[in-house]
């Protein structure tokens, strides 16, 4: 069938690829597997999948190198399978352009939820940011010209930097954003190590948009990695 989303699974562990192939197929996806980054990259060029799920530690071409090579030629969503203790590699993969990650061992539901979210984001029609004047996402409405934001129809007042940060979050809803990505996008390349800037601004933003900033529901922390924005319903 041609309308089934295609998923390429790249992992050197044959038992896991067996399970993922069957599990994903039973949820209506067309699945191919590859045992290392090199085979994965070839399969990608051959088959043009809608999404790639890849392990990080693999022989030949590893997951990081695969992310790098894929990003050079494509915007295909990439979900990284990582293990606890691989935080550094995980962040590197996200910085290289991976969209999301799932930590081993994981339940199939968790993986499927990430797959659906990534596919949804990839399917959303491209927006011309230059001509766009309003932004609607979940509980948020943004007027980019007057720089006004409402949450649940309640206006909130933000400083210019807070406004930019929130707009960036809304534009990348659901995606894991590393500290480095956020700092580079909002402050520029010289600030990528200044995590405390980000912490302060996220803290302030949470006080203004969250009902309870101690248990945030919009700006979620991904420990050691960054943040993920959930715009709500």
């Amino acid at each position: 069938m041609t309308n089934q989303p295609r998923i390429l699974v790249v992992d050197d562990e044959p038992q896991l690829t067996r399970v993922l192939r069957t599990g994903l197929k039973s949820h209506g996806y067309d699945v191919r597997v590859a045992a290392d980054g090199l085979a994965g990259f070839e399969a990608f060029n051959d088959w043009h999948p809608d999404l790639v799920i890849t392990d990080l530690a693999m022989p030949n071409v590893d997951g990081l190198e695969l992310c790098r090579r894929l990003r050079a030629i494509s915007q295909v969503p990439i979900i990284v399978l990582s293990a606890k203790g691989e935080e550094k590699t995980k962040v590197e993969a996200l910085d290289l352009g991976a969209d999301d990650f799932v930590t081993k061992p994981f339940g199939i539901d968790e993986l499927l939820a990430r797959v659906r979210a990534s596919l949804r984001r990839a399917k959303a029609p491209p927006v011309n940011e230059a001509t766009q004047t309003t932004l609607d996402s979940g509980d948020f409405h943004v007027d980019l010209e007057t720089r006004e934001i409402t949450v649940h129809d309640k206006p909130i007042h933000l400083t210019p930097k807070e406004f930019d940060l929130l707009v960036y979050f809304i534009r990348h809803s659901g995606k894991v954003l590393t500290h480095r990505t956020l700092l580079a996008a909002l402050w520029g390349g010289n600030y990528v190590e200044q995590n405390e800037y980000l912490r302060v601004f996220v803290g302030n933003l949470r006080k203004k948009i969250e009902a309870d900033s101690a248990t945030p529901r919009y700006i979620l922390t991904e420990p050691w990695i960054g943040y993920r924005f959930d715009p709500g319903q």
Binding site: G23, A83, P105, G107
Partner: protein, 384 residues
């Protein structure tokens, strides 16, 4: 260290005065038997004594007192400070100059010796300090190395535990999804369901094997490997291993060469057979399908039986031939990247080595025939 009273600063002057007085008294008592030259020499000796023990100033005092006593008691006219003969004036002056010079020289020599001694002690102290610092540093380095090793081992163990667990968890949740029904509903056909359950079954076995390996290794490392030694036949040990290895050698040819009339061995047959099985398993895993695995057993000298398992795989680089016996070390992970990641636990050879060494045997790796492939050789004593 407690300083004695003689080390006090004023003690030198007191001793100088007392010694000159005492010496004069003694010389006076022996009286007529000593001439002026003897007296001057004796007094000079005293000055030297004071100088070497208490330094230049007490020596100077001793010199002056000795000169006065020499003049007063021993140079005529006696009991006055006047001197009649001119040559006695010269003798007295010579005595004074000699006493002062000798005193100062020996005091200086003493100071030098003291300085040298101080220098020596300082060097010793520095040496001890350096040695302590070095010991502390190397101790810290050893600790750091051992911590690094521990964390590398932990990484290896967690990876090997987590990998099968991930497959199990993914299979179970897929099956659960179907049973519980979801939105959209999932339908697994019978084959898929069986496949999921097979994965769970196989991966549980893998976990169990890994845990057994860990226990075995821990036992070996604690020196608690309990060997049940009996007299056994080498060909029986090998054939037990071979029949167990049948499923994993399906795609290989196996050649067996056992020397005739081998003596019996007194070993734990189960353990040695386990070693042979591990070696066959490795050979099958790391050599291409269709290639030959060669097993052999022969005498090596009067007291040893040597067994080998040889494959036609990529071989193991010289510098890794020791390390492959380290636990959790896998040659293919560090070196050759063209082969797939092995499915072993990284414990097989470590356990094999533990078992062979517990039998007072040896195990090592050579190149196979013609320098290709891997040949693992081990010996066990016949105990005849």
């Amino acid at each position: 260290m407690r300083r004695s009273i003689l080390d006090r600063k004023w003690a030198g002057y007191v001793v100088a005065a007392l010694s000159v007085g005492l010496l004069t008294l003694v010389l006076k008592i022996i009286g007529g038997h000593v001439n002026a030259a003897t007296v001057s020499l004796a007094l000079l000796l005293n000055v030297l004594f004071v100088a070497t023990r208490w330094g230049s100033l007490p020596a100077l005092l001793a010199s002056i007192l000795a000169m006065l006593c020499f003049n007063f008691f021993f140079l005529p006219p006696f009991s006055t400070f006047t001197i009649a003969a001119t040559d006695n004036w010269i003798a007295l002056l010579a005595f004074l100059i000699t006493a002062v010079t000798a005193g100062q020289l020996s005091a200086r020599a003493k100071r030098r010796a003291e300085e040298a001694e101080f220098g020596r002690r300082e060097i010793e102290r520095l040496y001890a300090e350096l040695r302590d610092a070095f010991q502390r540093a190397s101790h810290a380095e050893a600790l750091r190395q051992s911590e690094k090793l521990k964390s590398a081992l932990l990484d290896a163990v967690t990876h090997d535990l987590r990998t099968p667990l991930t497959s199990i968890k993914a299979s179970i949740t897929t099956l659960l999804d179907e049973v519980r029904g979801g939105e959209p509903p999932v339908s697994l056909d019978l084959d898929s369901r069986v496949e999921m359950m097979e994965v769970i079954d196989e991966e549980s076995d893998r976990l169990s094997r890994f845990i057994n390996g860990l226990i075995e290794l821990a036992r070996i490392e604690a020196g608690e490997l309990q060997l049940r030694r009996h007299w056994g036949a080498v060909d029986e040990i090998i054939s037990t291993a071979l029949s167990r290895a049948k499923p994993i050698t399906r795609n290989h040819r196996v050649e067996l060469k056992v020397e005739k009339e081998l003596p019996g061995v007194r070993v734990d047959e189960r353990a040695v057979s386990e070693v042979v099985y591990t070696l066959i398993d490795n050979a099958a895993k790391y050599s291409p399908e269709g290639s030959t695995i060669r097993l052999s057993a022969r005498r090596a000298g009067d007291e040893l039986i040597q067994m080998t398992v040889e494959d036609n795989g990529p071989g193991i680089a010289n510098d890794l031939r020791e390390r492959v016996f380290d636990k959790f070390f896998r040659a293919t992970r560090n070196g050759d990247v063209t082969t797939r990641q092995p499915t072993g636990t990284g414990m097989g050879l470590a356990i094999a080595k533990g078992i062979i060494e517990a039998h007072e045997g040896r195990i090592w790796i050579e190149s196979g025939e013609g320098g290709r492939g891997t040949r693992v050789v081990f010996t066990v004593p016949t105990n005849q």
